[in-house]
């Protein structure tokens, strides 16, 4: 049976091994040396390179293609084994020219170079021959050199079965096989989303980041002719690989002198991908993901892999700016900080603590969030402190607080990947959380995971879903409750789980009866059969997870719908086991951490209630001040308070609130009324245009700190670049301001801040920088010994009695459309841009393929209103209007429109959104927006260029279809040649 311990013999020595294990992996783990080029620990066996041939029970076999069986005899030292491996390597060197010294990939990790060296191969028996294809450098970020490609298929494997974008294949039928993009089009015109994973796993220089080329090596920055002469010369002179490698290894060593490799965590979404950044001076050579990265392994999306140009943008602020009338004047830090201190002190003295408001950034670090709330509470005595989770995920947190106790994902991404059934609701996962989406896509494609997608828009996940449902906007609570009710009626609920681990069961069962299938059909527009179908899917699955995002939370009943999701999971016993649970997908890199670390109007770090006297006393003793016991204003409340004149000064850290808050016109009018406005940012953002003082901050790549991803995983970042100009990390700036007000802070670095947090916060009791070194991470809660909790609720729920609560919620009807405002506006992310675009539009490679924001219109509506791709329309809501060009697409239906968030000008979607909010958390109901449309100009160019990946043509298949190679007339298995078997000629 697979997994049982059995006896095997390797080179005459006896080993105990688990049956069914891959032989190559077993040998590697036992330190028995076997060369291997196509095998990658994150991809598994591909069986394309033949270099790992060993003798198994007397036969020559690919070690990577076989599983261990009892009493197997494996020989890796037989003369024939070496001969066969040598032959395989000759075939590879026939396809790949060794000019290592003048190759940008000569960085000590080229699999071909290293394997040739390891085999101590001195000569090649078959000369190198070009394949007769040109280099494809049409794409934005990487290029493919077919003449260096050994057709190992790692790139195809990762594209098909890890990223699951299904762009790459190898055509084994043609005379000279090569890697193809879509149905053989240039890279730039394919469905490639530039996730860069093919480049990451390429064992050699066939696929390479353009940012590496002519930059990584000492001798590679030469014109083509000279390069060719250099290659020829090295080949002529070197009589064997020994001397060649002596020189190229020395050159590789020299590179270490000027290339820095620094671990960081991506800042483009809540997945929390970590990777090494390679830098040479301020130039970013490449992003190199590592298999040990806990959230993502080798995976990235286009933004994480390539979207870092903004760090070196000319537009970065490098000096503090102070407003003089309608002009900002650059100033030195002393002047700016003393001015900020003076004005805040004056307003505090004149109008009291609550005339000030503080907003922390979900893009900044945990330590920086902690210092902002400490500044508000300790120095100014106000709880008016909040962060941008208010714009997105506070309702999800609320729903989980009501039912299970912790405001975070119940498990890790591994639990999502291993669930039998994944339901996503209001989440454009493939574009908003691409690396997490890939885990679902892979599980579905290879391991039979079932996927149900509920969304009003037919995005990629909807296309891939086993069941795609499209309920009316804002009606999710109703179908969720009806499905729950139906499950109870069928007796499919988890009785034992409910009896032992849940309270309020009977009361809930009684109330939920209201949600009949008939009622739900009427409200949601879903058929009864569809809802029964969903109930059956959940019933049939051993484990179910539900992932949700802004489509749920940014509604007037966002907290209630989140609660209904949790109720459904409780009723079906889908908590506290692997492959189960609730997963609100956090949008920004640190939207989880910013709240976790205390920038909330009602809680200290670790969700410790400000109204609890005992907790407050702890903080008062630590900070040596009296603290206010009433919750402060949310950021939405702050904007209202500015309008009514009670809030006079705002201190805002790295948030383009004037664009990203709903009803942007109202927010911006508020900014105009402030007496004093301080903004910390990298750029002169739209929001900072209203500021009195702008303090130049630095991005994640220039500072230390920690982030918390959507899994509750705390991870460290390290400075990869020196700070630019006079800009400073946010924590240093906040400390300067505090000390200007005689706070006497003396933090030498973020590690010290974290030590203080750990002492005051039970949730993070055992968190320290040593425990987070390098790629190490912790998923909170973390006890004093440093033991973390990847999966919550295994033993008990986070309430005093340890039990979950069923929390009945009713439906809040959305405002919706009417006769005048007859079109519904949905908004959200695009894969390749982030937020209002301050960062990603600085990337030329992204912008050339996605230059503008646009309005998606359904074919029906286009026909009805006389629109085509490129037509310009004006959309007007009750609060404002926008103007933009149209893309006609079947992704949207009927009278639904979709506008990406990525614009801070004419098409900034939040000019349309209203001040309506989730009734429980003040989160704006962004997704409940109605507009009317006027056609301004029929003619116009499509805002999406033809080379955008959305026009590509995917080629789904599983793996590289290696059988195609083995069937070729010119292929002979090296083992057969050595044993002189009857081989085909």
């Amino acid at each position: 049976m697979s997994g049982e311990m059995v006896r095997v013999i390797v080179n005459g020595t006896e080993y105990q091994a688990s049956e069914g294990q891959n032989i190559l992996q077993f040998l590697n783990a036992e330190d028995v040396n076997v060369p291997a080029i196509c095998f990658h620990e994150s991809l598994g066996p591909i069986e394309s390179c033949d270099t790992c041939i060993v003798e198994v029970d007397g036969e020559l076999q690919r070690a990577c293609g076989m599983e261990l069986e009892a009493d197997m005899e494996i020989n890796t030292q037989h003369e024939d084994v070496h001969k066969a491996q040598d032959l395989a390597m000759d075939q590879i060197l026939h396809k790949h020219e060794l000019y290592c010294t003048v190759c940008d990939y000569n960085n000590g990790r080229c699999a071909i170079h290293n394997t040739v060296a390891e085999m101590q191969k001195e000569h090649q028996q078959i000369a190198f021959k070009e394949k007769g294809y040109n280099i494809d450098d049409s794409g934005s970020f990487y290029r493919y050199d077919p003449n260096q490609c050994i057709l190992c298929g790692r790139c195809v494997e990762v594209c098909q079965d890890v990223e699951v974008n299904e762009t790459l294949t190898i055509d084994w039928e043609r005379k000279q096989p090569r890697v193809l993009w879509d149905n053989d089009v240039p890279i730039d015109e394919s469905s490639c989303v530039n996730c860069g994973q093919c480049v990451t796993v390429c064992p050699c220089n066939a696929l390479m980041e353009k940012s590496m080329i002519k930059e990584a090596g000492y001798l590679t920055d030469v014109e083509q002719g000279t390069l060719r002469s250099m290659i020829d010369f090295t080949k002529n002179v070197e009589s064997g690989f020994g001397p060649l490698f002596a020189i190229s290894d020395t050159e590789a060593e020299m590179r270490e002198d000027r290339i820095e490799k620094t671990k960081t965590v991506c800042t483009y979404c809540g997945v929390g991908c970590s990777f090494d950044v390679w830098t040479k001076g301020r130039h970013i050579l490449k992003v190199q993901p590592q298999p040990e990265a806990p959230a993502n392994g080798i995976s990235t999306c286009v933004k994480g892999k390539f979207g870092w140009d903004y760090v070196n943008s000319e537009e970065r602020l490098t000096k503090p700016l102070i407003r003089h009338g309608d002009t900002f004047k650059e100033a030195e830090w002393d002047e700016a900080i003393s001015y900020v201190g003076k004005r805040l002190k004056e307003i505090h003295a004149e109008s009291g603590p609550d005339a000030l408001g503080f907003i922390a950034s979900s893009k900044a670090t945990n330590e920086e969030s902690y210092l902002v709330q400490k500044l508000a509470r300790q120095v100014f005595g106000t709880n008016n402190v909040d962060n941008c989770s208010r714009y997105c995920q506070s309702p999800a947190t609320k729903g989980l607080f009501r039912t299970v106790g912790y405001g975070g994902d119940s498990g890790s991404i591994d639990d999502i990947a291993t669930a039998d059934l994944v339901i996503t609701i209001g989440s454009n996962t493939a574009e908003s959380h691409p690396v997490l989406a890939s885990r679902i896509k892979k599980a579905q494609k290879l391991f039979g995971q079932r996927v149900i997608v509920a969304d009003i828009r037919e995005h990629e996940m909807a296309e891939r879903a086993d069941l795609f449902i499209s309920p009316r906007p804002g009606s999710d609570l109703v179908w969720l409750s009806a499905v729950t009710n139906y499950i109870i009626k069928q007796g499919w609920h988890d009785e034992k789980f409910l009896k032992n681990r849940v309270i309020n069961v009977e009361e809930y069962f009684e109330k939920i009866k209201k949600f009949t299938l008939d009622y739900a059909e009427e409200v949601t527009g879903l058929s009864k059969e569809t809802m029964v179908n969903i109930a059956e899917e959940i019933h049939r699955s051993g484990s179910t997870v539900i992932c949700w995002a802004m489509g749920v939370t940014q509604q007037k009943g966002g907290s209630d719908t989140s609660t209904a999701i949790s109720n459904l999971l409780i009723v079906t016993g889908n908590y506290g086991r692997h492959g189960t649970g609730a997963y609100p997908l956090r949008g920004h890199n640190n939207v989880q951490g910013c709240s976790d670390f205390g920038s909330m109007p009602n809680t200290f770090p670790g969700y410790q209630d400000v109204q609890n006297d005992e907790i407050r006393k702890k903080f008062e003793e630590a900070w040596k001040v009296d603290l206010p016991g009433e919750p402060g204003l949310t950021n939405h409340g702050m904007v209202d308070a500015i309008h009514d004149g009670s809030l006079r000064a705002l201190y805002l850290q790295g948030e383009d609130m004037g664009i990203v808050d709903a009803n942007a016109n109202y927010v911006q009018r508020g900014f105009e009324q402030l007496d004093f406005f301080v903004v910390q940012d990298l750029f002169l953002s739209r929001t900072s245009e209203f500021a009195d003082v702008i303090l130049p901050a630095v991005p994640s790549l220039e500072k230390e700190g920690t982030f918390v991803n959507t899994e509750r995983r705390i991870q460290r970042i390290y400075p990869a670049l020196p700070t630019l100009g006079d800009a400073k990390p946010d924590w240093e700036i906040t400390q300067m301001v505090a000390n200007e007000l005689e706070a006497g802070w003396n933090y030498q670095g973020p590690a010290q801040i974290m030590d203080e947090i750990a002492k005051l916060t039970p949730l993070f009791a055992g968190v320290s920088y040593e425990r987070l070194e390098g790629y190490k991470s912790l998923l909170w809660p973390v006890d004093e010994e440093g033991v973390d909790m990847p999966m919550l609720y295994e033993e008990e729920f986070h309430f005093n009695d340890g039990k979950a609560r069923l929390f009945y919620v009713d439906w809040t009807e959305p405002t919706g459309t009417n006769e005048e405002y007859d079109l519904h506006v949905n908004s959200g992310r695009l894969l390749e841009h982030f937020h209002e675009g301050n960062m990603t539009y600085k990337s030329e490679g992204i912008t050339r393929k996605t230059p503008f924001c646009f309005i998606e219109v359904s074919p029906e509506l286009a026909k009805d209103r006389g629109l085509k791709d490129g037509s310009t329309v004006r959309l007007t809501s009750r609060t404002g209007s926008v103007k933009g060009r149209v893309v006609v697409t079947e992704r949207v239906k009927g009278k639904e429109l979709y506008i990406p968030l990525n614009d801070n000008g004419d098409l900034a979607v939040n000019k349309l959104t209203s001040s309506e909010v989730d009734k429980d958390t003040d989160t704006p109901a962004y997704k409940d927006t109605a507009v009317k449309m006027d056609l301004l100009n029929f003619e116009g160019q499509s805002p999406l260029p033809h080379n955008n990946h959305r026009f590509g043509n995917r080629q789904p298949q599983i793996g590289i279809r290696i059988g195609g190679k083995w069937k070729r007339d010119d292929y002979v298995f090296p083992g057969d040649v050595v044993r002189e078997k009857d081989v085909k000629r």
Binding site: N236, T327, E672
Partner: protein, 157 residues
């Protein structure tokens, strides 16, 4: 009451301030590396005296052409052959076992000395003398060594 603005007046340090700051930084850097800098000045002096300095600057200025010409030239067949011979010869040197050859070489030296003395004489050596001399232990040892050498050289791999 602040209207949005994008107007920014840069803080331009006066020329004197900028210069002063620059000089300060340089002074500090020099002071921290006193010994290395003095040595470097010496080296520059010597390069200058030997006229090497202008040569190096010219080479650096025209590095692309120089590199291209160098590799084009060096890539011609006879040059490549020369370079390859150098590499091969270095490889050959690596295979010689000098340690074992050392005593042998000393013996050859002594042999040459003896031979030098004998060369003065004119008389013929008879066959009998030749056979007799095999009994001389010194001659006998040499003959044995030579035969062993011949055996080794004739061996097939």
């Amino acid at each position: 009451m602040a209207k949005a603005t994008r107007k920014v007046e840069p803080l331009v340090p006066s020329k004197d301030e900028a210069r002063e700051k620059g000089i300060e930084e340089i002074e500090q850097a020099l002071a921290e590396r006193k010994d290395a800098i003095l040595e470097l000045i010496d080296l520059v002096d010597r390069l200058h005296e030997s006229d090497l300095l202008p040569f190096i600057s010219a080479l650096v200025n025209h590095r692309d052409q120089a590199r291209s010409a160098f590799f084009r030239e060096i890539n011609r067949p006879h040059n490549a052959k020369f370079a390859r011979n150098v590499v091969d010869f270095i490889g050959f040197l690596g295979t010689i076992e000098f340690e074992k050859m050392q005593p042998f070489m000393e013996k050859i030296n002594r042999g040459i000395l003896e031979a030098d003395i004998e060369e003065e004489k004119d008389d013929m050596i008879s066959m009998l003398q030749l056979i007799k001399s095999l009994k001389d232990p010194e001659v006998n040892r040499s003959i044995r060594s030579i035969l062993a050498f011949l055996r080794g050289m004739g061996k097939e791999e």
